[in-house]
Amino acid sequence: MAEQMTIHLRIWRQAGPDAPGRLVDYTVAGANEHMSFLELLDVLNEQLVHRGEEPVAFDSDCREGICGSCGVLVGGIAHGPQRRTAVCQLHMRSFKDGDRIVVEPFRARAFPLVKDLVVDRSAFDRIISAGGFISTTTGGAPDANALPVSKDAADEAMDYATCIGCGACVAACPNASASLFTAAKISHLALLPQGSVEASRRVVAMVRQMSEEGFGDCSNHTECEAVCPKGISIACIARMRREYVKAVLC
């Protein structure tokens, strides 16, 4: 049987966007190493319901690190201390008995708070709507093998396409920039011949939208890469800048 742990949590509670918020202390006994961090919050919430208190609100869905729904600051780090791991896949073996952990929402002007640990990341959807696609309608696509794509290009495009849109990059950035998110999509599509047709229009529109949403600019802190659960490289930000310069100057 796995060893039991007692964990002390200090969690941001805020009833709504306009309500005052504060950190509240909770203690959860009976945690163990196989439990995920969100399952620890589940256990806490069950206890709160039994005590007649309001459970802690947080977003989560697939719980296997791919949907991008979850995301909180654990001990001041987006998604917590384990690298390349979304918080739903962070397991309590990363902690020890008696640890004190502060849990806060992803904070950014462009991510308004909804409740407790839940924020509104719809700005990301609007960035994609601005140009993060290849304009196709259904039907009429040529045979999939009609256009060879080098394995290297396809692999690198895939590296960027694995972004799960969780927003950790924004939460970790001192400027609350969405550059990693935006550049990952720009790079994914620009690396493929299918996507190069609209590359200029795409980069200009997406960068403009990113700025209109209230995200800051990138000043190379590289915090985003450090917390990205998919390990997306900031090399894409350099590519975004090259694409942007090409689009507006060439």
Partner: protein
């Protein structure tokens, strides 16, 4: 003997040769002109592969689409978690694949409990899906020459599966999401995230709208449309522990059932053989390890139940590679239902491994030796990482421990050839319908079906409906049907909040899940099913008196959302048990202990059960009415399914 059905359902399958049916349908189907498409508003519920692709495609055609999703973004639907791949009869490897073979493998894999014409159409459009996805920029795996790579999957002897590492569902979903985002930008789609459909509005026998709840403000909303497309996925979360996402649920489909849409084959659930085993009572979900791992991983248990040595210390002669032994021609790549039952059989015989003894080994030592660690890493790297994150063990060094878990539901709302339910104007796509996978789905076929329905089937069949239906254009959301549906939804929420009992929603969900897993799981028998139905009924009654739902309606309240869903899962659970009881045969994932061969394989009864069972709601305390659609096999001859 099967109970006589109230009526026989007609699926509107076109006449003619199997190979010609879809072409013949498209040649003669009614069309809606471009100018008229703009006048039709279509409600699409869900943004997974089926909903996302349908919404993007219909908006591209010019329809006015309103699209709803339960998550905070359309990009997060649970299709995103599909790992291994998508099948298509492209025959790029020149290894003998054809449309016919994909059709045949799928219908055989489904144990001859699916509709021939639908499955053939699915195989026919499979190649178009790959073309479409590549045009969208989906970065499928490629060979050095720049052409697309393929791998093999369970239940097939050709390599027809396209993949993007172990994240094929993610990439296909993002392709559909980006196409949808494009349409949102053009103004053809109004996208409403964080909405849950709480009821279907039926006016004069036609589905004309939905009631949704805004999950942030709690506001109930009425939406009017000319057709409703339900793309809300499967009901595997009825079992509490499954590979489904937290928000996956049956509520939208169940509301449609209660409004008159028939629910087909609810007992057909898929238990996936390769999942990470249960570790404790706090667990919120089970994690799948892609079937693609069985390409290179070998499944085994120690021969001797008392053998407690570490796996590496157990020499070859003391291991039983039971799938290779029992099924020499398919080996580790037998279909999911067969592999799951085989794992259960070994564990039931005491040969299970790990602390719970409810696991078998999936071993990559041979593959690492043959291919090198680097190649194995390229093929499965992200899956191995995920396994290590969850278990703390390194699968490059020691075998994975795996056990079956609930993964997919083949049952769902009954639809005809046009994907229309028994309610006019309600179309059901993807996992939410029952149509293509029979009693067992083959790997890499869910993505194929969701996208086939959304990209290539519904654009034709919806036009057929709209061009023929004479819809009353004077209906507004002030109509009595809207008013009363909204009132009922409000009262239900109020009842849930006011019970203020002593048990949590999760406690009820776990109890229901345990009942279903024990009695309506991998192995079923009459006694267990009758007991389960009675116990679920009792649990359901208790729920409404003793449940405690904290918080209010006018705020983000997960417990309130879940309470409504668990209440519906309980009603569904009872129907699953009833359906399993009614089907006196073993087929695919439905294994009735009373019906097996001397070797313990599933024993079908084509004489009495070559039909779809579709249930019609008749009131909360009244038994549902049974209808049947006979399955007529014009082209294939149902045989005993053998993978030996």
């Amino acid at each position: 003997m099967a109970t006589p059905a109230q009526s026989t359902l007609h699926a509107k399958v076109p006449a003619g040769r199997l190979q010609d049916k879809w072409d013949a349908y498209r040649d003669t189907v009614g069309l809606v002109s471009p100018a008229n498409k703009r006048k039709h508003s279509i409600l699409v519920i869900g943004t997974g592969l089926a909903g996302g692709s349908a919404a993007a495609t219909l908006a591209g055609l010019g329809y006015q689409v309103t699209c709803f999703c339960i998550q905070d973004s359309a990009r997060r639907a649970h299709s995103i978690a599909a790992q291994g791949g998508i099948n298509a009869a492209k025959n790029y490897p020149n290894d003998g694949d054809t449309i016919w073979r994909l059709f045949y493998d799928t219908i055989k894999g489904g144990d001859y409990r699916s509709r021939e014409a639908n499955v053939y159409r699915l195989a026919q459009v499979s190649g178009n899906i790959i073309d479409q996805a590549v045009a969208q920029g989906v970065p499928f795996a490629r060979e050095y020459g720049g052409l697309l790579a393929n791998r093999s999957f369970g239940g097939a002897q050709v390599s027809r599966t396209f993949y993007a590492r172990g994240q094929t569902g993610q990439q296909l979903l993002l392709g559909a999401y980006q196409a949808l985002s494009h349409q949102i930008a053009t103004g053809n789609v109004s996208m409403l995230p964080r909405r849950e459909m709480l009821d279907l509005v039926v006016v004069n026998g036609h589905a004309r709208g939905v009631i949704t709840r805004n999950l942030v403000t709690g506001a109930l909303e009425r939406h009017l449309g000319d057709a409703v497309l339900l793309c809300t996925g499967g009901y595997g979360n009825a079992y509490y522990l499954s590979t489904n996402a937290q928000n996956s649920n049956v509520t939208a489909a169940w509301r449609c059932y209660k409004r008159g849409a028939y629910f087909a084959n609810p007992c057909f659930t898929q238990i996936h053989p390769t999942c990470i085993p249960v570790s404790g009572g706090y667990q919120s979900k089970l994690t799948l390890m892609s079937e693609s791992l069985r390409n290179d991983g070998r499944v085994w248990v120690p021969r001797d139940p008392e053998d407690r040595r570490a796996p590496a210390q157990i020499p070859e002669p003391d291991r039983d590679y039971y799938l290779e032994r029992r099924y020499p021609s398919f080996g580790n790549l037998v279909p999911r239902d067969v592999a799951s039952r085989a794992a259960k059989k070994e564990c039931d015989a005491g040969r299970g491994v790990g602390t719970t003894r409810l696991a078998v080994y999936l071993d990559f030592a041979d593959a690492v030796g043959r291919l090198g660690e680097q190649t194995v890493r390229e093929r499965y790297g992200n899956l191995f990482e995920m396994y290590q994150r969850i278990t703390g063990e390194n699968p490059y060094k020691e075998p994975m421990r795996i056990y079956p878990a609930v993964h997919y539901t083949m049952g769902g709302l009954w639809v005809d050839y046009e994907l229309q339910s028994s309610l006019r104007g309600l179309f059901v796509l993807g996992e939410a319908n029952f149509s293509d996978h029979g009693a067992n789905r083959l790997g890499a076929s869910a993505l194929m079906q969701g996208l086939a329905d959304g990209y290539f089937v519904i654009p034709y069949t919806l036009g057929a409906y709209l061009s023929g239906a004479r819809l009353d254009s004077s209906i507004t959301t002030d109509h009595d049907a809207f008013v009363s549906a909204e009132r009922e939804a409000r009262e239900r929420l109020h009842t849930l909040l006011s019970a203020q009992g002593d048990k949590t929603v999760t406690q009820y969900h776990r109890e229901l899940g345990q009942l279903l897993w024990n009695h309506v799981g991998m192995s079923r028998n009459r006694e267990g099913l009758e007991a389960a139905a009675a116990q679920i009924r009792a649990l359901r009654q208790e729920f409404w008196e003793r449940v405690r739902v904290p918080g209010d309606n006018d705020t983000y309240n997960k417990n309130l959302e879940f309470a409504g869903r668990v209440a519906d899962f309980m009603e569904l659970g009872e129907l699953m048990a009833r359906d399993a009881l009614e089907r006196e045969e073993s087929c695919g994932g439905h294994f009735r202990e009373e019906h097996q061969t001397a070797e313990g394989e599933a024993l079908r009864n084509d004489q009495d059960y070559a039909h779809v069972t579709a249930w019609q709601y008749a009131g909360s305390e009244t038994a549902p009415v049974q209808h049947q659609e006979p399955l007529v096999f014009e082209t294939v001859q149902p045989t005993s399914r053998s993978y030996k």
